[in-house]
Assembly symmetry: C2
Homo-oligomer: 320 residues x 2
C-alpha cells in the first residue's frame, strides 16, 4: 500500500532526524518550531543557500547526490568560518511526491548529515519546481570565527586541496560523458566541505572564504572586505593530475581560476603562523598550498612562470 504524504515525510525525514542525538537539541521535528539550547561561550554561525534544479545542478543527477551536495555546499560555509556543524533545517520544494526519489534523497541527506554530526531539526515540504533550501547552524568560540575582513598586508594566500576539478566535472556531467563515478565528476557531485581544515585554521588564519564561485571571485571578496590586494603565482595553484590530463595545463589553470563548485577553502595566514600549516595539512589529511601574498596595492594579479601578469578571465559565477 502506498504511503500517505505524511507517512512518507515522516519516514524519510522525521524518523531519521532523531538518529543523531545531540544534547543541544531539545525538541526536533513535529511542532511549530524546533527547540535548541545553544552552548554557552559560543557564537552561532548561520548560513542559508538554495539549490535550484537546472540552475545550480543539472536536473539529471541522482536524488542521493542532490541531497548530499546541497547539504555539503552549506556545510562549506561553516567550514569557511571555522565553525563546528550543529543543526540544519531543510525546505524542500518538489514537483510531486515520488517515493523512491524521496527515499534516495533522504539517504544522501542523512549520510552526509551523520558524517558531519549535524542534526536535522526542522523542515517544510512544498509543491513546486525542484529546489532545496538548507540553513545550517554551527558553533565557534566567541570572537574566533574566521571572517572575510581580516587579511593583512604580507599575509600568505593559501588554498586547500586542488582547484578546477569541479568545473571540469560539471562540464562532463552536463555532456553526460564518462562515468559519474570518475574523480572530476565526483568533485562536482560530492564536494567535501573542509570542516576539519576550517576548525584547525581558527587560531591561524586572518581571513577565509570557501571557493564556490571561482578562486578569482572568492579571493576577490576577501580582498575587498579587507581593503587589500594580492599577487598570486600561477605555478603555485594546485591542479590535480586528473584535471591536467583531462583538459591540459592551460585549461586546467583557467578552471582553477574561474570555475566554481570546488568548495575548497581560500584563506590568508600571517607570516608568523605559516609554519603551522604543514602540521594542519598532515592532521586533517587535506593538502594546503601557498599560492601568493597579500599586498597593500589593491587589485588581484596572477603572475606566470616568467613573473609577468597574466590576462585574467571575467571573474566568477553570475547569479543572474
Amino acid at each position: 500500500m502506498a504511503l500517505t504524504e505524511f507517512e512518507l515525510i515522516q519516514r524519510c525525514f522525521a524518523d531519521q532526524a532523531g538518529a543523531l542525538a545531540r544534547a543541544d537539541v531539545r525538541l526536533g521535528i513535529g511542532d511549530d518550531c524546533a527547540i535548541v539550547a545553544p552552548c554557552s561561550g559560543q557564537e552561532l554561525l548561520v548560513s542559508v543557500d538554495t539549490s535550484v534544479a537546472g540552475v545550480h545542478f543539472p536536473a539529471t543527477i541522482s536524488p542521493y547526490d542532490i541531497a548530499s551536495r546541497s547539504l555539503a555546499v552549506n556545510l562549506s560555509d561553516l567550514a569557511a568560518m571555522g565553525a563546528e556543524p550543529a543543526w540544519f533545517t531543510l525546505a524542500l520544494t518538489l514537483p510531486e511526491m515520488d517515493e523512491p526519489w524521496l527515499f534516495e534523497f533522504s539517504r544522501g541527506l542523512f549520510d552526509t548529515a551523520n558524517e558531519y554530526g549535524i542534526a536535522l531539526v526542522g523542515g517544510d515540504t512544498t509543491r513546486g519546481p525542484l529546489s532545496i533550501t538548507i540553513q545550517v547552524q554551527g558553533y565557534a568560540p566567541t570572537g574566533k570565527a574566521l571572517r572575510r575582513d581580516g587579511a593583512g598586508v604580507g599575509d600568505l594566500v593559501c588554498v586547500s586541496g586542488s582547484l578546477g576539478d569541479a568545473g571540469a566535472g560539471l562540464a562532463l556531467v552536463l555532456q553526460e560523458e564518462g562515468d559519474a563515478t570518475d574523480h572530476l565528476q565526483r568533485r562536482f557531485l560530492a564536494p567535501l566541505p573542509r570542516i576539519t581544515t576550517g576548525l584547525a585554521l581558527r587560531s591561524v588564519a586572518s581571513a577565509a572564504i570557501d571557493i564556490s564561485d571561482g578562486l578569482l571571485a572568492d579571493l576577490g571578496h576577501i580582498l575587498e572586505r579587507s581593503q587589500v590586494g594580492a599577487v598570486l603565482q600561477a605555478k603555485a595553484i594546485p591542479l590535480s593530475p586528473e584535471l591536467r590530463q583531462a583538459v591540459g595545463e592551460d585549461q586546467a589553470l583557467q578552471h582553477a581560476l574561474s570555475a566554481g563548485d570546488d568548495y575548497e577553502l581560500c584563506f590568508c595566514v600571517p607570516a608568523d603562523q605559516v609554519e603551522k600549516l604543514a602540521a594542519i595539512a598532515a592532521q586533517t589529511k587535506v593538502p594546503i598550498c601557498q599560492i601568493g601574498v597579500v599586498t597593500a596595492e589593491l587589485g588581484l594579479r596572477v603572475l606566470d612562470a616568467q613573473g609577468q601578469p597574466m590576462p585574467l578571465p571575467a571573474a566568477g559565477y553570475q547569479h543572474f
Copy 2:
C-alpha cells in the same frame, strides 16, 4: 542607470538589514555566515517555511504583501511557541531581477521585520520560479516554550481573534473581487502573528499551535501529540461580523472550522489558569474565546446549539 544585481540586492536587503540594531547580532549579511550570540538562559526556537507563488499565495498579489505575509507566517510559528522574535534569513528565488518589484518586496519585508523587532542576518538570491523561504529564530526561557504535547484532560480550548476570515478573503482575492483593502482580504494578505498573545500565554497555556491549516486540522495536531480529545461548542467559535455578512452564518462556521491562513492561536488552558485570560486579552488587545474542553475520549467533536454532534468536513489543508 540601472543598478547591477549586486547593488540591487545590497540596497534592497543588506543596507536595510543593518537598520535594526540588535546586540545579539555580531555580524550580519556579507560573509559566508552571519554570527549571532544567543542570550544565555534562553532556548532558541527555529522554524522554516516556504511560500510558493501559485501554491501558497496567488501570483497576482503585490510584492509588498508577498514579503510581509511570508515573514508574518513564519513569525506566527514563533507566536505559537511563545517565543520572542530575534533573527531571520531569507532565501528568495526569483524569475528575474525586477527593480521596482524588489523595492516593494523589500519595503514589505522590513516594515514587518521592524514592527516585530526581528533582524535579517543572511540570505540567498537565486533564479527560478518565485518562492520565498524564511527561517525565523526566537527566544524563550529554558523549558518555557509552548508545545503541542502538553494539553491535559479538563483544560479549556481557546482561540485568539476570530476565525474563517482569511479563508473567505482568499476566495475574494482569487476571484479578484471587491477591494484588496477590505477586512476579509487583508486578513489573508496581511495576517497578524499573535506574538504578544503567545508571550503572555507562556506561563498560562498547556499547549498551543497557530491556525494555518484550519481549526479542526491544527487543534487535531495538539490532540494527537497530547493523546487526548476535545469537544467544541459551535456557538462559541468566534466569527467576525464581516465574515457573517459576507457568507452567512453557516458558511462562516465552515470557514472557521476548515479554512486555513488565519494565523490565530489555538491553545489549551488548565482550569485554574482560566481567570488570567481576560487580563491577557485586555493587555494584548487581542480577544480570547473559550470554545471547548479537552477530553480523555480521543477524537474531536463539535456540538451544535442543541448539543448534537455536527457532521465535520474533511480536515485541513493538504500540502500535496
